[in-house]
């Protein structure tokens, strides 16, 4: 297991957003975390990546206990993520944005940067190449690299965020609603991209509402409701679980159709 989450719990002033959640993620797999709005999916990702401190429970990444550590220290253990609300760097070009992703690969100090030492020039070139390779993997055309990232259409921004995460060279990637706001065709290429990530050796844990995408590509599906684990298994097992159908029925017929 590359990632194990044990009895993770988060209380927000009386509201239990995540309640004793346990998850196991196998290396080189795609795991989807689904559930109705407000189920606690984003909160779970925030707890796993160190954005929030859990009230109780543990998170193990490659066997190391990372519970309560800061996001930048967790990133150095090889895990990073994308965000449900896009977190673009204002005014930066696509290339610069993805080069920030490659930050942890670099070693140069601020003093060397001040003097623009030869090692810094070489490192810049290396970071640039890494960023271009990550853009290529994420399917962003090289011709976009000079454009301001935050001015691109929504679907491309989602891909730039993924490229930024890829550039950091991590082997565990958490994606929070990568297909939100995308049309059908864009969702399909996003699904393809996520499969390619797995083939490239990256383990993916994704939160997503697009059931076609989730059921089409996941090795494991985990369903949350009211902060708790409702069901888990292969896409087939989960789709046939009466508890899941019921949870989604409560949200209206359309969602039930999506699951069934």
């Amino acid at each position: 297991m590359i990632l194990s989450v044990e009895a993770l719990t988060k209380n927000f002033a009386g509201l239990v957003a995540v309640n004793a959640l346990s998850i196991q993620v196998r290396r080189n797999s795609i795991t989807a975390l689904i559930g109705p709005n407000g189920a606690g999916k984003t909160t779970a990702l925030n707890l796993i990546t160190g954005v929030l401190r859990p009230t109780a429970g543990r998170v193990l990444l490659k066997g190391a206990d990372i519970t309560g550590r800061s996001p930048h220290s967790i990133a150095s253990n090889g895990m990073t993520r994308t965000y449900q609300n896009l977190q673009m760097f204002e005014g930066m070009t696509v290339l610069e944005t993805v080069m920030v992703g490659a930050h942890r690969v670099g070693r140069s100090t601020w003093l060397a940067a001040l003097l623009r030492a030869p090692s810094v020039v070489a490192e810049e070139k290396d970071l640039r190449n890494r960023a271009m390779a990550a853009l290529d993997r994420a399917g962003v055309p090289a011709s976009y690299s000079g454009r301001v990232a935050a001015e691109l259409p929504y679907g491309w921004q989602r891909r730039v965020e993924i490229a930024r995460a890829i550039a950091s060279g991590v082997d565990m990637l958490l994606l929070d609603e990568p297909a939100a706001g995308l049309n059908n065709q864009e969702s399909e290429t996003m699904a393809q991209l996520i499969c390619e990530l797995r083939e490239g050796g990256t383990t993916v844990l994704l939160v997503e509402h697009d059931m076609n995408l989730v059921m089409g590509i996941s090795d494991q599906v985990i369903v949350m409701n009211f902060g708790q684990l409702l069901s888990q298994g292969t896409p087939d097992q989960v789709q046939n679980d009466p508890a899941v159908v019921e949870a989604y029925l409560g949200k209206g017929a359309e969602a039930a159709d999506a699951v069934a």
């Binding site: 930048h72 760097f89 930066m92 942890r104 003097l115 810049e124 950091s168």
Partner: protein
Amino acid sequence: MLQRLDSYHCNLIGLGILIVLEIAIGSLVQNSYYLTVINLCMIFGIASVGLTVLMGYAGLISLGQSAFFGIGAYVSANLATNLNVEPVLALMIGAMAAGVIGWLIARPLLRLSDLYFAMASLAFGIIAYILFGQMRGITGGLDPGFSSAPFSVLGWRLGDTRSMYWVCATSLAIVALFVLNLVHSRFGRALKALGSSEIAADGLGISVVAYKAMALAISAGITGVAGGLFAFFLRSFNSSAFGFNLSIELLVMVIVGSVRSVWGALLGATLVTVLPSLLDRFEDYKLFAYGVAMVIIVMIMPEGLFQAMIEASQKLISRRKPT
């Protein structure tokens, strides 16, 4: 592919233009009053470039830059005057002293939110101002103030206004180059990133607090260089130069110019330094007119004067060449 205007290479061209301008002004301007004003523009220009690193990149507002300016001034002037340290070296040690103090106060201050950071830096500036006034053994306080040895390089006296012009011009070019190097590096991108989204920067392995602390230290160090030059240029000054007014003026320079550009900071510094003397004939209304001018600039050019000029010239060019 079209080179972006804020690329490293375009900025190096900008630096080249600055150096040509400096040489032209240095050879053409004879009037020593004008040279004095220009020297002050360059000194405050350096200080506002320092603040740009902090505000434009790391997104932190400091209302205590006067403290670093003062530390730079007193440390370098004391070393050169009382301990016979080579002035160039004294200037560097003064900058380092300001930088180290910036780094030290950053640790406790950065625990606060950005707004409280600004307020705490204000308190720091005021405390430093009081100390400058009280530690008369070192600073001379308000009265009699401090009398500094002249600037010199290897025994070569460079104390007069014209020589100090070249000293300030050289310092400004070096500082501008260093800052351009810095902001167009992994370090600078990290600052820009955390200034825009702390969560995303943190998630990519950037230690937000460590980087902000370093940004404050570098900003303080650069402001310290400006303070040292100020001391060597004026030679006789007192602690009233390092009060809250200075912090506010630096802030206005950076905002008016455009927060995220070295050139904007220099433009802002020039405007804020020169405008009051242009408004001299209004006497009683000087401060009022000054305030109104600043408000108008900020209102019609929210991105700053420099950005507005770039955009206007781009529009002009594209109108000439309709394609």
